[in-house]
Symmetry: C2
Subunit: 315 residues, 2 copies
């Protein structure tokens, strides 16, 4: 018999500030690149006609986590979330199950934090203004993490004007058109990615782009031709080249492995990041199980310090 | 925000009787063989030096399940269980997470029920007496499921005499030596499987053997030579030939694919089971994620009928 802490979305967000999410996400990228954290390939379980489930295990720093998460793209039409599920947290030393976390909150924090970590590592010195294209849940957390990292003010662009207005009001940023958002120092895209929202004409010397929306082959937020103008980075080549923003560019031969650097290599100082002020850097974020583990470690640390309360259930 | 039912081991066992476990396990074997239930290969996450975690997804009959379970073989030395974890149950139609189940109880029920289903399908007409070699937790549930299926009385053999005595007292069976247990009509082995507990000399014409203990390559409960005397069955060739009782016999060339029949094929009437009263049948049970799904479906049905109470947590 064991006691398991249960943290809903509100509790997860109360446990992990944007600043903590950034620190833990950077640590996750570094340990992943160092080979100290393990992440077997995620497993897909098809659930036609609605979508699929994904099982994403990871291990590091004494914890083992398993994210069980859906992608049910048509769910919003029936008032249900695209993403649902949970993150299980176990001790990698004893095997004991420790906690059950809301998975959408973990995903938002690790997605938003990845954008901020990429901007800290790759944006040019003095980069400040942010353009956010796509102001949904994960876009909102990208903006909050960038603000926590000292970026902003920003321009919030979204076809749903109330989403852009709400976020802009919260952060003291502005609402603007896509074109204006795309002209800022740091540009973050978090759209459904069914069609490109960044064209070659949008690119400005010295920009940093964090491209977060493409989560399946066939989806892309950046026009294919634009890749040739950018220095390319990703969280993990394996995932990014198959199911991320880079997938289309790789399959069409525009981008090859040697042109893309994993961000963990840059953070560890093993590979070059930006090499000039005029360079345009593009970071493709696909979302790693090790990032989920990083956020889970932050939650467990907050629980240990008594900074957040969570019901415990017997299992 | 969603509400998730949480069932500890006691609640799972209260929700699913041995008889229900048998019915749902047979259904799982049949739907698996029919290709209606899906089960991607399990994923292993190594956790050296202690053991490993396994993520086992499955889908069928409107549910999607994920078992997250440890094998930490040295854990008993520090007073901790070898197997720990949980089974997540989601709706395959909406993606919503529905329940969190204790994983050891699910594993015991599906393991014990598999032995009973194999005996119902493969034991000779009139087979009655049971020999149980290994009277631990899963052995106990094998005995209870066989009793629920009308088999017995039985002989309980275990080097730990109190384990054999407790189970024999519960079921009105006897305690006996390994040799006596191995001479019964239906023989079930559920040992750590570090060395064979069934030799060629033990075999009796017309016996049915259900071999449940080997859960990794290199482990075996039956002497290699004995395989040549038996008609061979398993839950799934892929798992059984790599990590089950059959693994050693397959890698040494004693057993080939064409000699082994999956039990679902027998249950569906697509393949022959036992063909004579003198034949010795051997069923290698490795444990399928679809069996876990079958038990989860039984739990959810009991919850729906209000037959079991479970706390609900917000996630």
């Amino acid at each position: 018999m064991t006691e398991v802490s249960v943290l809903d979305g509100r509790a997860v967000l109360a446990a992990v500030s944007p600043r903590a999410a950034i620190d833990h996400t950077r640590h996750a990228f570094e340990r992943h690149a160092a080979g100290e954290w393990q992440m077997p390939p995620k497993v897909y379980l098809e659930a036609p006609p609605s979508g699929d489930f994904r099982a994403m295990p990871a291990r590091g720093d004494g914890l083992a986590t398993l994210k069980w998460v859906t992608s049910f793209p048509q769910n919003p039409e029936r008032g249900l979330p695209v993403v649902a599920g949970a993150l299980l947290v176990s001790s990698a030393e004893t095997g004991a199950l420790l906690a059950l976390l809301d998975c959408a909150a973990v995903t938002s924090l690790r997605t938003g934090a990845a954008a901020a970590v990429s901007a800290q590592a790759l944006a040019r010195d003095g980069a400040s203004s942010v353009g956010l294209i796509g102001c949904g849940v994960n876009g909102g957390w990208a903006a909050r993490c960038l603000a926590a990292a000292g970026f902003g003010a920003g321009v919030c662009a979204d076809a749903r004007s109330e989403a852009a207005e709400g976020l802009a009001a919260e952060l003291g940023w502005e609402v603007g058109e896509r074109e204006r958002a795309a002209a800022q120092d740091v540009v973050v895209t978090v759209t459904p990615a069914w069609r490109p929202v960044i064209t070659t004409a949008d690119l400005r010397p010295g920009q940093h782009l964090a491209v977060l929306g493409a989560d399946a082959a066939g989806k892309a937020e950046v026009e294919l031709e634009a890749f040739e103008r950018c220095s390319l980075f990703c969280d993990e080549w394996e995932q990014a080249s198959k199911g991320g923003e880079l997938a289309g560019a790789v399959s069409s031969g525009v981008v090859t492995r040697d042109r893309v650097t994993e961000i963990g290599e840059v953070l560890l100082g093993r590979a070059a990041g930006r090499t000039s002020a005029d360079e345009i850097t593009l970071f493709d974020s696909t979302g790693l199980a090790t990032q989920d583990l990083g956020i889970a470690a932050a939650v467990m640390a907050a629980l240990d310090r008594g900074e957040v309360e969570a019901p415990r259930v017997r299992l």
